[in-house]
């Protein structure tokens, strides 16, 4: 039996959608964002509602190909399609996009051109060595973003408010870590697919309501008996897993436990807290600049992160799913496999559903070898 029925998440989402729509009628702005480098604290402190845009889907991808070439990454195409199809995307007043991979950097131009939604592009240096002038430039970018968001909402952004939001999101990170860590044990109660649902819902609800939800989930986990059966312990990696990739996790979980991940839509969002020392924007600059990702150069920290997670969660295999034409992740498959030294299943797919049974065969064969 599922820890939390899927219908519950759907219900929460629907309620949240109605809340957001009602808030917008009162003049509150909704700001969409894509990745772990988007400073949600700044958005929230500016008086806007941050909503993570993380839907994929075949229909959206196909719709997106009206605007982008088919060899744009599937997520970018789906993103364009979802601005037409997905109710949450339709609520978005502005987007915060971070200069990460090349395609995500260029996506804003197409969003603005075709949908008229303003996109605030935050320049994050790709180089990972945190030299003072680089962090200072990113800090300046955050300042500029704060000013733009304040202009959007009409609310001044104070240091005190930012401090509060940093604390609130740190609390959210903390409870997400706690719930994720319940998977350190053998035969964990929490599945990877439920974790994905929890994360996606948390980013939608905002920190206060999300913490309340996750606290409840933690209570349920504590009360639920664990199975004695040992199943292979897998880690998920690769390009972002959209909510629409739940099918893959469910498929894997028929045969194995997904006990952790190295995804931007997973543990990498909450693996660390914004540091406590310093002025709020300085702290945010240091924090976000230091987040690991495959697109950073060099991406040594991402490898260290993957090795740490694999070790701490006693991972026996890696399921590494890349999106078609996602170069930053696709190029690293071989290196990562060597660095982790564990069996790896590489899946390179778009959001189409036609190949699912082929994927099932590969997943089952992979698990059998473990």
């Amino acid at each position: 039996m599922a820890l939390i029925p899927r219908a519950t998440f759907e219900q929460i989402r629907q309620q949240r959608l109605e809340e957001i729509a009602a808030e917008r009628k009162q003049g509150r702005k909704v700001v969409g964002y894509f990745c772990i480098y988007a400073p949600v604290e700044v958005v929230q402190a500016a008086g806007a509602t941050p909503v993570r845009l993380m839907r994929g889907g075949q229909a959206a991808e196909e719709r997106g190909e009206r605007y982008l070439r088919a060899d744009a990454c599937s997520f970018c195409n789906a993103c364009m399609g979802n601005f037409e199809l997905e109710p949450f995307y339709k609520q978005v007043d502005a987007v915060v996009a971070v200069n990460t991979c090349d395609m995500m950097r260029r996506l804003p131009e197409s969003i603005e051109r075709h949908f008229g939604t303003p996109v605030y592009q935050l320049y994050l240096p790709r180089t990972s060595e945190s030299l003072p002038h680089r962090v200072a430039e990113f800090r300046r970018q955050l300042d500029e973003l704060a000013n733009r968001l304040a202009r959007l909402t009409g609310a001044a952004l104070s240091a005190e408010r930012l401090d509060l939001e940093i604390a609130a999101f740190n609390r959210l990170r903390d409870v997400l870590r706690q719930v994720s860590d319940t998977r350190r044990v053998s035969s964990p109660v929490l599945s990877g697919s439920t974790m994905l649902d929890l994360e996606a819902t948390a980013w939608l609800l905002g920190p206060v309501k999300a913490v309340s939800l996750i606290d409840e989930v933690l209570r349920i986990i504590a009360a639920r008996p664990r199975s004695n059966a040992h199943r292979p312990r897998l880690m998920l990696g690769g390009s972002m897993l959209a909510e629409d990739d739940r099918w893959l996790l469910k498929m894997v979980e028929e045969k194995a436990d997904t006990v952790t991940d190295i995804l931007c839509t997973g543990t990498r969002w909450f693996s660390d807290d914004v540091p406590a020392e310093g002025a709020p924007l300085d702290r945010l600059a240091r924090f976000y600049y230091g987040r690991p990702c495959m697109h950073r150069r060099p991406n040594t920290e991402m490898y260290k992160y993957a090795q740490r997670m694999a070790r701490e969660f006693r991972v026996e295999g890696l399921v590494y799913k890349t999106l078609l034409y996602c170069d930053p992740y696709a190029f690293e498959v071989r290196r990562l496999q060597e660095a982790l030294g564990i069996p790896t299943l590489c899946l390179d797919t778009d959001y189409s559903i036609e190949n699912r049974e082929q994927v099932r065969t590969r997943v089952e064969a992979f698990v059998e070898t473990l």
Binding site: Y67, L68, R69, D71, A72, C73, C76, N99, C101, D102, M103, R105, R106, L107, P108, E109, S110, E112, R113, G116, P118, V119, Q121, Y123, P125, R126, T127, E129, L131, H133, R134, E137, R140, H295, R297, P298, N299, L324, Y325, D327, P328, A330, F331, E332, V333, R334, R335
Partner: protein, 480 residues
């Protein structure tokens, strides 16, 4: 014939007169080469060196024997200056190994396409080269060897041809193992950034340099109309700091504390190249004084001067003298009445350029994603700041809108009749940019646009692509 040049390395001593300007075949050049006096063959040397090993004036056949099979299918400008250019360009691999033999430091500058070599070449005894340019090699060699080598390392077919650079690092035979890799990344393409990351396995010493985003307005608003000079200045300041790191690292490598005057001289040398290229662009695009193929080689020479800035400058002077003479006599290497097109790339397959010209079109403007290498630097500014400032013209660090504006500006100036956008399947920016640039051009100019992906290396232009190009040119003709 007069082979004038400011470097003094060309002379009027040999008895040679360029034939009437024309594009000639590989075999025709061999016949012409029989008439090139030995004195001239002995005259041209790379690295300003009189040794016999540094000669490079050979017919294209010489390079075809060593694997450049594609040359057999191209058409070449029949001037001595163009032959000299091909000789120097095709000789680059040998030249880089020679550089190592004669004790020069060999620095691989990757990813920024035009800026870092200005700094590296300011250091005595140092040679910069772009592994990026190896992307031509599979085409010129008509071989998948480098792509296969890249695939073995994890970069498969659905990505930029620049992956050939990774294969070349793995093979250790296309250039000497560099003393230092300076890898620029940031607001650049993913494919090449990924290549740079994997190259780190083969290069013990990599300095990462950040290319900042050029933040532009993408939609009309009051803020946009006011422009964003503050942002641009911040990016220049940031990039200058990055270049200071390059200088510091180069000083350690070369054991030489560089002076500001040496850097200024480096900027002046690079500017000399850029000014020559600007004039050649003008004469080619306006007067058809050179063909598209040679002009492409000239433009890409601004990246790193084919690893010999002195000789490359002399070659450009020679080409310019030829082009000026042709313009003065109203002689053209391609029909001046040919269909006028702008070519937007990353890759312009040499065979495609030849094909398009054979079919009655000529290139009157280009956007080869190397704008930064064409921008003349402000010599009155501190040198690193001047380099950083010129880099703000880079094609890839800004929006597609900015690239489209460059295309539209050229199209207006030269009354272009159509635009060709050639991309790469799976190339990260091609997938996002091509359609936008096409839309902007159609919307603002009403020009027909042909957009296609360049095929993998082959010995012919594919029939489907031939049909598309033929149909496109037919459309342009019908609009006259």
């Amino acid at each position: 014939m007069s082979q004038t040049g400011q470097t003094g390395r060309t002379s009027e001593t040999a008895d040679w007169t360029d034939p009437k300007p024309a594009r000639v075949t590989f075999d025709e050049w061999l016949e012409l080469f029989d008439h090139v006096p030995d004195e001239l063959i002995e005259h041209y040397h790379y690295y300003d060196n009189g040794e016999s090993w540094s000669k490079y004036l050979f017919p294209p056949q010489t390079f075809a024997i060593y694997g450049a099979r594609h040359l057999r299918r191209l058409k070449f400008d029949n001037s001595l200056a163009a032959l000299r250019m091909w000789g120097l360009v095709q000789n680059e691999t040998e030249r880089l190994f020679r550089a190592r033999q004669i004790g020069r430091r060999v620095i691989a500058t990757m990813g920024d396409l035009g800026a870092v070599p200005v700094i590296v070449d300011s250091f005595p005894g140092c040679v910069a080269f772009y592994p990026d340019c190896i992307w031509w090699t599979p085409f010129v060699m008509e071989s998948r060897v480098l792509f296969d080598a890249a695939a073995e390392l994890g970069i498969g077919d659905a990505t930029c041809f620049s992956r050939a650079a990774l294969g070349a690092f793995a093979k250790h035979s296309y250039f000497p193992d560099p003393d230092l890799v300076i890898a620029s990344t940031g607001a650049s393409c993913d494919d090449y950034s990924g290549v740079e990351q994997l190259v780190q396995s083969f290069a013990p010493d990599v300095l990462w340099v950040e290319e900042p985003l050029r933040q532009e307005c993408r939609i009309a608003s009051d803020e946009c109309r006011m422009g964003v000079p503050r942002e641009t200045q911040a990016a220049i300041t940031f990039l200058t700091r990055e270049y200071e790191r390059v200088v510091e690292r180069m000083e350690r490598l070369a054991g030489h504390a560089i002076t500001e005057e040496e850097l200024r001289e480096g900027v002046r040398r690079a500017n000399r190249v850029r000014k020559l290229v600007a004039r050649l662009r003008e004469l080619t695009f306006r007067d058809a004084a050179l063909a598209a193929l040679e002009m492409m080689v000239v433009e890409f020479g601004s990246l790193h001067y084919y690893s010999d800035i002195g000789e490359w400058t002399a070659v450009l002077e020679h080409l310019l003298a030829t082009a000026e003479r042709r313009a003065a006599r109203a002689e053209r290497v391609v029909d001046g009445a040919a269909l006028r097109i702008i070519w937007v790339t990353p890759p312009a397959d040499p065979l495609l350029l030849t094909y398009v010209e054979d079919k009655g079109a000529r290139v009157v403007g280009t956007e080869y994603v190397i704008n930064q290498a064409l921008e003349v630097m402000d010599e009155s500014r501190p040198p690193l700041e001047a380099i950083a400032d010129s880099f703000m013209a880079a094609s890839l660090i800004g929006t597609s809108r900015a690239r489209a504006e460059s295309v539209i500006g050229q199209a207006r100036e030269r009354q272009a009749e159509g635009v060709i956008i050639s991309g790469i399947l799976g190339g990260s920016h091609c997938a996002m940019e091509a359609r936008l640039i096409s839309d902007y051009v159609k919307q603002e100019m009403g020009l027909p646009v042909l957009e296609f992906d360049v095929a993998p290396p082959s010995n012919e232009v594919g029939l489907q692509l031939q049909t598309r190009i033929d149909a496109f040119l037919e459309v342009l003709r019908s609009r006259r």
